[in-house]
Subunit: 340 residues, 2 copies
C-alpha cells in the first residue's frame, strides 16, 4: 500500500460546486501532487459542505462530484497514493458533526471570522441556514475523522483549524486522554491567482476563470482578454507591471523566472508589447494544460474506472472515519452495543 | 410480523436521562400500550437528543438507554409489536439532520417557542450549544426518517411538529413530489402528573418522582409525603381538593372514578382524613406497580435478552431510516453511486 499508516495524515479537498481551474492548480493541486508522496493524503469531494450554501440545487452539486474527481486524476492525483472520497457518503462525518455540535456554542460560531465574512459574501444577512452557521463544526468532523495532522488552507481559513482544535481539546479533556490529535494548518505560500479580469479571485461564477479542461481556443481567448496596463497604449510606452494579470500568471507558471524578470524590466522601460507577453503565456499554458486536458478526456471515456476510483476511495475513507467515530464514542462513553 | 407496513406509523420515545416514572406512565406509556396494537410503533431511546443538554456526562446518558428499555418492557411494550431502537446508533438520523440543517435558518430556530422556553429552563443564556439550538431539526430527522404520521406530544411540543412539517414541505417542493409525509400531533388529553410535592411536573432531578421500579416502601413513603391541603389540620375540617396531590393521583389511577368523586365531596364537607385517602392511593399504586416492578426485576436478570431486543429493534429501525435517507437523497438529486 502506497499510503502506509505511519505517514502523517493530510486532509484536503474541494467543494463540488464547479470544475477546477488554474487557480486551484496554483493554490492547491500542485502541492497535493507533492504531498501524496510524503503523506497519507485524503481528498474530500465536499458535496455536503457545498450544499450549505447551494441547498436549492443539490443536483448541480452532485454532478460536479465526478467532474472534480476527473480534474484530480487528470492533474496527476494517483489513486494508489491518495484516497479520493465523497463527503456525503461517509456517515461517520455526519454523526461526528451532530455529536460535536453539543460541544460548540452558537455564539462561538457567530464569532467565527471566516463564517462572518462568508455570510456577508453570500448575502445571507439574517437568513443564515443552520447548516452554514455550523459548517465549522462539520469541518472539525472532517478533520478529526481522518485524524488529519496537516490541513492545507488559505490564511482566511485559519479560524476553521482553530475551531477544530478547540473541539479536539474539549473532547480529549472530557475523555481524559488524547483520543484525537490537533491539526496544524499548512498555509500556502503562493498568493491567490487573480481572475483574468484582474478584479478578484478566479471563480467560475465570476466568468473570469480558465478551467483545467479549457480547449486550446478557450485558453487563447482567455489570455487575449487578460487585464494588462490600461495606460500602456502603444508598445513603445512605459508600462506598469503591478496588477498586470499576464505578468502575475507568468510569475505563477513560467518556468524561467529570470526571463520573466527581464521582461518586466523591459515593459517598465517601454518598447515591449502586450501581444508578446500574451503569446508567451499562451504557449506556456498550452503546454501545461494540454496533457491535463487530454488525460481528462481519456478518463471521461472511462466513467466506470473513475466511478470505481471514487467508490473504492470512499469505502476506504468510510472505514477510517467509522473507526474514529467508534473511538470517540468509546472514549466519551456514548452508548454502544459492544460495551453496555 | 405484528407491525405490517400498512398500519399508520407512530413515533415516540424518551430522552435517556433517567429512569421512567409514574408521570411517564400516565403521560405516554399507557397510550403506547394501546397504540402498539393499532399502529406500527417505533420507540426511540433518544440518547443523542439527551446529549444536547447533557454533553458533560455522556456516560450517564448511555447507562440509561438499557434502563429505559427495561421500563418499556416492564410496562408491557411488546417487542413483537413495537420497535425499540437507539437514536445514536441510527446513522441515517444524523445524516438527515445535517442535510435538513441547510433548509432551516438560524433565526427560524431562534424563534421556536419550545426552544426559547427550554433555553431559559436550562439556564443556557448566551451559551447555547449548537446541538441544542438545532434539536428541532434533529427531531424532524427522527420524525421523517420513520415517515411517522402520528407523533404523541405535549401541548408545549407542538412547535416541534410544525418545524418538522415545514422541512417536509420544503423538501417535497424541492423534490417536486411528496417524498415525505407531514406528521400529525397526537396531543395527550391527560394533563401532566404533578410531582408528589405538587409544585411542578414529576422529575427525577426535582426528587419528587415515583419511579416505575419503586419498592413497596418507596411507594408508601412517597404517598405519605404527598402534598395535600395545608389548611386541613384535623380530619373533621373541611378541605380543598384543588391542588391536593393525592386526589390528583386518584383521578389518574383509581379504577372507580365515582367513588373518588364521593370522596372529594366528603373531603370538602369535612370528616375525611388524609390518612384514608393516602391508604387508598397507596393500595392502588402497589397493585399497579407491583407487577411492573417484578417484571422489571425478572428482565434485569436477563440482560442479554434485553440487549437483543434493543439490538434487533435498532437493526430494523436502521433499515427503515436508511431507506428514507436514500429516498430523500434520490429525490433531491444528492450524489449516489447508484445513479451518477
Amino acid at each position: 500500500m502506497a499510503t502506509p499508516r505511519d505517514l502523517p495524515v493530510v486532509l484536503t479537498g474541494d467543494r463540488t460546486t464547479g470544475p477546477l481551474h488554474l487557480g486551484h492548480y496554483v493554490g492547491s493541486l500542485k502541492s497535493r501532487l507533492a504531498l501524496q508522496d510524503s503523506h497519507r493524503q485524503f481528498l474530500l469531494l465536499a458535496d455536503a459542505q457545498a450544499l450549505t450554501d447551494n441547498a436549492d440545487d443539490p443536483g448541480r452539486i452532485a454532478r460536479h462530484v465526478i467532474e472534480v474527481a476527473l480534474d484530480y486524476l487528470a492533474v496527476g492525483i494517483d489513486p494508489g497514493k491518495s484516497v479520493v472520497c465523497v463527503q456525503s457518503r461517509l456517515p461517520a462525518l455526519a454523526e461526528l458533526t451532530v455529536l460535536y455540535m453539543n460541544y460548540v456554542t452558537v455564539s462561538r460560531l457567530e464569532r467565527n471570522p471566516t463564517v462572518k465574512q462568508e455570510i456577508v459574501q453570500r448575502g445571507f444577512q439574517r437568513d443564515i441556514p443552520a447548516g452554514f452557521l455550523c459548517y465549522p463544526v462539520a469541518q472539525a468532523a472532517d478533520i478529526t475523522a481522518f485524524k488529519a495532522e496537516l490541513v492545507p488552507v488559505g490564511e482566511d481559513q485559519l479560524p476553521m483549524i482553530e475551531q477544530s482544535n478547540e473541539i479536539v481539546r474539549r473532547i480529549n479533556r472530557l475523555a481524559g486522554r488524547n483520543v484525537l490529535p490537533e491539526a496544524r494548518a499548512l498555509v500556502s505560500s503562493t498568493g491567490r491567482l487573480p481572475g483574468i479580469d484582474g478584479q478578484s479571485k478566479m471563480s467560475k461564477s465570476a466568468g473570469n476563470a480558465i478551467p483545467l479542461s479549457a480547449s486550446p481556443d478557450e485558453i487563447r481567448s482567455a489570455v487575449r482578454a487578460m487585464f494588462t496596463d490600461p495606460g500602456h497604449l502603444r508598445a513603445s510606452d512605459p508600462g506598469r507591471v503591478e496588477g498586470h494579470v499576464v505578468f502575475t500568471y507568468l510569475d505563477a507558471f513560467d518556468e524561467s523566472p529570470g526571463e520573466v524578470e527581464e521582461l518586466k524590466a523591459h515593459y517598465r522601460r517601454g518598447g515591449l508589447g502586450d501581444v508578446v507577453l500574451k503569446g508567451r503565456l499562451d504557449a506556456r499554458l498550452q503546454v501545461l494544460l494540454g496533457p491535463i486536458r487530454e488525460r481528462r478526456a481519456e478518463l471521461a471515456r472511462r466513467p466506470d474506472f473513475v466511478m470505481d476510483v471514487v467508490r473504492s476511495g470512499t469505502e476506504r475513507a468510510a472505514a477510517v472515519t467509522q473507526e474514529t467515530l467508534d473511538e470517540v464514542r468509546d472514549a466519551l462513553g456514548v452508548f454502544g452495543f459492544g460495551r453496555a
